[in-house]
Symmetry: C2
Subunit: 222 residues, 2 copies
C-alpha cells in the first residue's frame, strides 16, 4: 500500500465489473474503501446511489475531493493513466488494440447479457422460468468464452496470459467473467487456453483477494 | 484524404459498431474500402469471415500488411493513438475517463442487447414474438438514453457535445445508437440534451456520410 489518496468504491460482492476494479487497484498497490450497493435489493436505483451515479450502475470509483468515475473499463484506463506501473496495457498501439479488443469482447459482448436487470426483465416480462434463464446464461457464457478460446488459440501474441506473459486488462476482464460464471456454477467445456490463463490469474494475490466469495455480503460456504 | 495506407473495413450497413469506425475514419481524414458482411444472412459466422475475425463480429479493420483490429472502441482508441488529430479524447485523465465512461455506457449497456444474435435467440428460443421483441428494443434504448440524459443534464462538463464543445468518442457512440434506433423507427421521449447533441452530429459531414441508410446494402427509400 502507498500514500495515495483513498478511494471509495461503490460495489457489490458478485459484480463482475466491480471485480475488475478491485484487481486493478490491488495490482497497482492502491486501496479503496468499499461501499456496498445491494443489487439484489435494487439499491442501485435508490436516490442515495443515484446521487453518486445518475446512471444507476456500479462500480463507481470516488476519489477524495475528486471526480466520480464510472464504467469498469474507463476506471481501468484512468488508473493506468494516473498510476502507470505496473502497466495494464502493452506499450505498442497494435498490442494495446488487441488487449482492448479482448477486454471489450468480454465486457460488451458477454457480461451485459447476464446482469441482474436482464434477469429481472426476462423473468418478469419475458416469460422466462428458471430453466430458461439458466439456458440463456449458459448460451452467452459459452458463446463468449469459446469465441475467445478460438482467438487466443489462433493468435501468436497469446502467452502465459491473454497477451504475452504479463497481466493486462484482458486478463482482468477474462477472470471477472469466469469468476462470476463459477458463482453461478456454470462450466464451459473445451476452453483449455482460457482455463490455463484463469489458473495463472487465480494464483495471483491481487485476483484471489478480489474473488466474489471473499467480499462482504457474499453467501458463506455451506 | 491523406496518403495514409488504405484500410479495409469489414462492415454491414445497419451495424451501429461499424458506424462508429466510419465516423472516426472520416474525422481523421482516412479512407477505408468497405467489405460487406451480411449479418442478416449470417455471413459473420461463415468460414471466410472467421479467417478475418475468429470472434465472428464486425467491425474488423484491416490495415494493408498489418494487423486486424476488432471491437469498435478498440479501433477508435487505435486510430486516436496512431492519428492523434483531431483528438477523439480530451487531454486530461479525468475528462478521458468521463468520455470513455459515456462511450462504454452506450456500447456495453445498450447496444449489445439489440444485436441480431439476441433477436435470433429471443425469437427462436426465447418465445418472443415481434411485439415482444419490439418492447425489448424500446426498453433498452429508453433505459440507456434516458440514463444518459440524466447524466448529461447533471454534469457541468456537458457542452455542445457530450464533453465540451468538440466531438469525442462519446458523441460517436451516442450517434451510432440513435442512428440505428431511428432505422428501427423507435423514438425515446424526454431526452432534449441527447437530441440537441444528435442534431449537431447530424450536421457534421463525417457523421452524415456514415449514416446507415447511405451505405451499400441498405434498403432504398420507398
Amino acid at each position: 500500500m502507498t500514500d495515495e489518496p483513498t478511494y471509495e468504491l461503490f460495489s457489490f460482492w458478485r459484480s463482475s465489473a466491480t471485480y475488475r476494479v478491485r484487481v486493478a487497484l490491488a495490482l497497482k498497490g492502491l486501496s479503496a474503501r468499499e461501499r456496498n450497493v445491494d443489487l439484489d435489493a435494487g439499491e442501485q436505483r435508490g436516490a442515495d446511489f443515484l446521487r453518486v451515479n445518475p446512471m444507476g450502475a456500479i462500480p463507481a470509483l470516488v476519489q477524495a475531493g475528486g471526480p466520480t468515475i464510472t464504467q469498469s473499463l474507463a476506471i481501468l484506463e484512468y488508473l493506468d493513466e494516473t498510476h502507470p506501473q505496473p502497466a495494464l496495457l502493452p506499450a505498442d498501439p497494435v498490442g494495446r488494440a488487441r488487449v482492448r479488443s479482448i477486454a471489450a469482447g468480454l465486457t460488451s459482448d458477454t457480461h451485459p447479457l447476464i446482469t441482474p436487470r436482464i434477469r429481472r426483465y426476462l423473468t418478469t416480462q419475458g416469460g422466462f422460468d428458471d430453466a430458461a434463464w439458466r439456458r440463456w446464461q449458459i448460451q452467452w457464457f459459452s458463446t463468449g468464452l469459446q469465441a475467445l478460446e478460438a482467438r487466443l488459440g489462433a493468435e501468436a501474441q497469446t502467452g502465459a496470459y491473454c497477451h504475452g506473459d504479463s497481466v493486462t486488462m484482458a486478463d482482468i476482464c477474462l477472470a471477472s467473467i469466469v469468476a462470476v460464471m463459477r458463482v453461478f456454477k456454470i462450466e464451459v467445456p473445451d476452453i483449455p487456453t482460457v482455463d490455463a490463463i484463469m489458473a495463472r490469474c487465480e494464483a495471483h494475490e491481487a485476483f484471489a483477494r478480489a474473488h466474489p466469495l471473499r467480499q462482504a455480503g457474499a453467501p458463506r460456504p455451506a
